[in-house]
């Protein structure tokens, strides 16, 4: 199938982009890496009036140190994240997960900002940002806003992003020296969306008691979400010692089934991936 007719602009500055996106008559949609939007358009499931191609906006590309943390421009590609020594050092969770995100050719164009703005419930990146306590910077002609990741993902393809706003950056706080991470997903084929997946972060010495857990699931509900009851159950425990109680606390999650796994299967597999992630923390 071929995409339906649309208009196309590639602004050279954010200001130009905002002007296009805020003009309601244009029915404009931002185009980041296009690895999710273009397939939808090729199926004619998405038919925007105009595509605003963000690829010329160098101001929202690239990875830089931000204190001890990271500032990642929204138009930074997955392949750049995977190649970044800074990401490997300051957000090792991201480095762990990147090989599981689709395939090389997709990672060569797919962007972090595109994934965040789309908020696909099965995608890894939103959950990673939840586990990393990341912040999402959103801009419009009216100014700049910052959302905690935990407040940003609201539902299936639904975020706190308002009409006319763009995700422009992701900031990841400096990890505590004893911050540790794990990532585990069950995908039927490598690179597929997972049947269930989880990202875990915690602070503590290897093999010892940990605190300040983050347990963020993806592909089990209508959005990426933190399992706060499980986090509480784990607090102050050696990861595997708290596993059973954490799994028992997963009932708080509004599980939602899909073609590969009914709701009950999602719940069961969530417990499995959590246990396996905790083994790896």
């Amino acid at each position: 199938m071929k995409a339906a007719e649309f208009k196309y602009e590639r602004p050279g500055s954010l200001a130009e982009a905002f002007a296009l996106l805020e003009d309601g008559d244009l029915d404009a949609t931002p185009l980041a890496g296009g690895q999710s939007l273009v397939p939808m358009m090729n199926f004619r499931l998405a038919q925007p009036g105009m595509l605003v191609d963000l690829s010329a906006l160098d101001e929202i590309k690239g990875i830089s140190g931000d204190g001890g943390g990271l500032r990642i421009g929204a138009m930074t590609r997955y392949v750049d994240l995977a190649a970044s020594a800074l990401v490997a050092e300051r957000a090792p969770l991201m480095a762990m997960a990147l090989p599981h995100i689709a395939h090389a050719a997709i990672r060569n164009r797919g962007t972090i900002g595109g994934s965040v703005a789309l908020a696909d419930p099965a995608a890894e990146m939103p959950a990673l940002l939840l586990a990393l306590d990341a912040e999402i910077t959103v801009q419009s002609s009216a100014g700049t806003k910052t959302h905690a990741a935990a407040d940003f993902f609201l539902g299936m393809y639904e975020t706190a992003l308002q009409s006319g706003e763009l995700v422009t950056a992701i900031t990841v706080p400096a990890p505590a020296p004893d911050r540790r991470f794990a990532f585990y997903e069950l995908a039927r084929r490598h690179g597929d969306y997972a049947m269930a997946g989880v990202a875990v972060a915690a602070s503590g010495a290897p093999g010892g008691v940990c605190s300040d857990y983050r347990v963020a699931f993806f592909s089990v509900s209508d959005r990426a979400l933190r399992a706060t009851a499980a986090e509480a159950a784990l607090d102050g425990k050696v990861p595997m010692d708290g596993a059973e109680a954490a799994i028992a606390a997963l009932g708080e999650i509004p599980f939602a089934g899909d073609l590969n796994a009914a709701t009950a299967t999602k719940q069961h597999l969530s417990g499995v991936v959590l246990k396996r992630a905790l083994e790896r923390v």
Binding site: M1, A4, F43, L186, R188, H190, G191, M195, N260, V272
Partner: protein, 792 residues
């Protein structure tokens, strides 16, 4: 058979050698010629509006907005083709009782499956055709659909074709011996299982495609298509478009995979041809991936209740089963949709000595996409039912699964034999193949290792299958029933003036290497280097008449025709040589492009000298010599309905009981396809086939909602095997040439797909058994494994 029996021993033969195929070189350079690569002057592009519902009465269609879109040339509805296209019905006389309703390229009054073409838009580009298609207004009154094949015969099920009174398309019962008495014996163990096989589809990477050009001045229709059976399509297009057969030319160039998908009559393809004829301009239709999932034939979709009785010493006392399969709303034209069920009846248990046998199949209409022949037709069902029951029975009586096979497989020296279902077998090697398999996989050591690992909580399993494969079909397959499907094939070989030979054959190439093996046979038998052979296939205008590629027949039938033609041409050339060299033909041979003395020695004359003498300097020849430097031979199998091959395969899997995930660790295949012409190509067929079998066993399934919507019609959702999850596959051969031909080759294209699912299901059950669980439904998804374990 008489013939040149020594060809296989000649020093310059290419038979049995893994020589690279010429086609591969250009395909790695982007020089393939697929249908969508064709651009013709004034060419138009087609897009279709398809039924959004599984069953509905077409109340009205309004195309006026679509017609008004700039760039749109024509819009056709079903009614527009009435009188232009003769309806077609997918029945064959030898499948007694099979019924189906007439079909038109576009539904006329009632749409019967989601995706059925209703309206065709022809425009200057595909994008514009789609723009216009979106503007077609169709008012459909939804009718109750009958989607579930297991309820399609219920009294209250909606009847899809009112004139038939029920949704039964075909039913057949096969009975041999006295199965009731055998099952009732008090010294047998009876095992019963319900098997479910999901709906698959072929997912050829190149979708179905056709470009059709019609020249009204000559009433000549040229049909380029991505397909397997050019002569069959020539007949069908001529008949249903009302053209003399000789006025239809069908061309298949490079084909991006077919696997049986591209051998049927699809409404959108026929509509494309009809539109080209009506408009007098070339029309291209390339199915997009959504259209492929919705309309490429589907396959499998069987529910089988099976029973086996075995004695304490492991002998099969009886086998019985009842098969229900849903085929969509019509039987596909012209091969019909009853063949798969028929194969299941014929092939289940075929490797074994079974005296008492009963099998019933019911083929039912339903409001889903049509089902028809896809790679290894019926085989995965037949093999999984028989070998699944057999391995479960072996475990019931405490016997090893290899041992129970040894006690039941037909002896290698017992042939020819006739099975309980009346199939004639010859030249098979079940025991030898099983022995080779057991040795190759180090069976006993692996079993011991599994027992040890199980104590460590590692759950591995081994499963086997002993199988037969239908290859080299005779006219008994289709021709007998009235289908325009040739079982014979022909090859013409001509000596070129430069001393090369040109082979043209009616079998076709879809990547399996047909062109390469024809060249190998011709080069070796005739006596030229391989690079002096050019091959043409896939064009009704320039090849002899024949069936094309299906049922693993290219090597066995096309290869034999080529062998005979090469041999004939050689005799003709030697006659000319003998005249020029003033001797007799028996004194000469052809080696490496030269006429040589039969008893060796230096070349006497090059083939180019000979050919140029004949073609240019006929004055040097005696006036009574009329040299023919071209020979044609045709070949068909006449002594048997099919030439069966056999094989033995084994899978080793590791089960993760927590997740239901199964990893295929190893796969071994021993195949006896008779004479192996090119081992590398045969191994490629086996490996590719096994991986399709892994797809069927673990991944692939067309998932329909209750109201008949295909829910996973994308490549992200219909899961095909990808590289990361696939194992390396070990292949070995036993070679028992068929006596039905000089070449002795049988087919090898479908064994892997036909056999692997059974071995994989048995392996999973071997791993599940200590956990008290079992699974007999494919694909064996993680969720189904978890359900089998009672986890969810």
């Amino acid at each position: 058979m008489s013939g040149p029996q020594t060809i296989f021993d000649k020093p310059n033969t290419y038979i049995g050698k893994s020589v690279p195929r010429a086609d591969a070189v250009r395909l790695t350079q982007g020089r393939g010629k697929y249908v969508d690569d064709i651009q013709l002057p004034r060419m138009l592009h087609a897009a279709f509006v398809r039924s959004p519902v599984a069953h509905g009465r077409i109340v009205s269609i309004n195309v006026s907005e679509a017609k008004a879109v700039p760039g749109v040339t024509a819009v056709f509805t079903g009614a527009d083709f009435v009188g232009q296209v003769e309806p077609y019905v997918g029945v064959l006389s030898h499948l007694a009782g099979l019924r189906s309703a007439p079909q038109m390229p576009l539904a006329v009054d009632v749409a019967r499956w989601t995706g059925e073409p209703l309206v065709m838009v022809v425009a200057s580009s595909r994008a514009i055709a789609e723009d216009a298609a979106a503007l077609v207004e169709i008012d459909i009154e939804e009718l109750d659909p009958a989607t579930d094949m297991e309820r399609a015969l219920d009294a209250d099920a909606p009847v899809i074709h009112a004139e038939f009174g029920s949704n039964l398309a075909w039913e057949r019962l096969v009975e041999a011996g006295n199965p009731d008495a055998a099952f009732a014996r008090d010294d047998v163990t009876v095992v019963e299982r319900r098997f479910r096989f999901g709906r698959h589809t072929g997912v050829t990477l190149e979708t179905r495609a056709s470009v059709v050009e019609y020249d009204p001045s000559e009433r000549m229709l040229t049909y380029w298509y991505s397909g397997q059976a050019p002569h069959m399509m020539q007949f069908i297009l001529a008949k249903h478009l009302g053209l003399p057969e000789e006025n239809v030319r069908v061309v298949s160039q490079d084909v991006g995979g077919s696997f049986g998908i591209k051998i049927h009559t699809y409404g959108d393809d026929i509509a494309t041809a009809a539109a080209a004829k009506i408009l007098g301009r070339p029309v291209k239709f390339v199915a997009d991936r959504l259209e492929s999932f919705l309309t490429d034939i589907h396959a499998r979709d069987h529910v089988v209740d099976g029973r086996i009785a075995v004695t304490a010493d492991g002998k099969i006392a009886a086998l019985a089963f009842d098969d229900v399969t849903g085929i969509g709303p019509y039987s596909m034209y012209p091969r019909t949709s009853a063949i798969e069920a028929n194969q299941v009846l014929n092939l289940t248990g075929a490797p074994y000595l079974i005296e008492h046998y009963r099998a019933r199949a019911r083929v039912v209409f339903q409001n889903k996409n049509m089902m028809c022949q896809y790679r290894a037709v019926g085989h995965p069902i037949a093999m999984a039912v028989a070998d699944g029951l057999l391995e479960d029975a072996a475990n019931e009586i405490g016997m090893d699964v290899v041992e129970i096979r040894r006690r039941n497989l037909v002896r290698d020296d017992a042939y020819p034999t006739v099975s309980a279902t009346g199939m004639k077998f010859d030249d098979l090697s079940h025991h030898k193949s099983l022995d080779r398999l057991v040795e190759m996989m180090d069976y006993d050591a692996r079993r011991a290792e599994h027992a040890r690992l199980r104590k460590e909580g590692i759950h591995r399993g081994i499963g086997l299958v002993s199988m037969v494969e239908v290859t080299n079909p005779s006219p008994m397959f289709y021709g007998i029933g009235g289908a325009p499907i040739a079982s014979q094939d022909g090859t013409t070989i001509r000596l070129e003036a430069g001393g090369a030979i040109h082979v043209s054959s009616s079998v076709t190439e879809q990547g399996q290497g047909t062109n390469a093996i024809l060249a190998q046979i011709a080069a070796g038998v005739f006596g030229v280097p391989l690079d002096r052979v050019k091959v043409t296939t896939g064009d009704t205008r320039s090849t002899p008449y024949g069936g094309g590629t299906w049922a693993s027949r290219g090597a066995g039938i096309g290869g034999e025709a080529t062998l005979q033609a090469a041999h004939a041409l050689k005799q003709q050339v030697l006659e000319v040589a003998a005249t020029i060299l003033q001797s007799t033909p028996d004194k000469f041979d052809i080696v490496d492009g030269h006429v040589v003395d039969a008893d060796g020695g230096p070349p006497r004359m090059s083939l180019s000298d000979l050919a140029r003498t004949v073609y240019y300097r006929g004055n040097e020849l005696p006036s009574d010599l009329s040299p023919e430097l071209v020979a044609t031979r045709h070949y068909r199998v006449s002594d048997f309905p099919f030439v069966f091959t056999n094989g033995a395969m084994a899978a080793e899997v590791e089960l993760d009981p927590e997740t239901g995930f199964v990893k295929v660790l190893n796969f071994w295949a021993v195949e006896d396809c008779g004479r192996v012409i090119n081992p590398q190509l045969v191994d490629g067929q086996i490996r590719g086939g096994v991986v399709q079998g892994i797809g069927g066993a673990f991944y692939e399934e067309c998932i329909y909602s209750e109201d008949g919507q295909l829910e996973n019609a994308t490549m992200a959702d219909y899961l095909v095997p990808m590289a990361f999850e696939m194992p390396d596959i070990f292949v070995a051969h036993v070679e028992t040439p068929t006596k039905t031909s000089v070449l002795g080759a049988k087919g090898a294209g479908e064994a892997g797909t036909g056999g692997a699912p059974a071995a994989l299901m048995n392996a999973v059950n071997d791993a599940l058994r200590p956990l008290g669980a079992s699974i007999h439904q494919m694909p064996m998804t993680p969720e189904r494994v978890l359900k089998a374990l009672g986890t969810v």
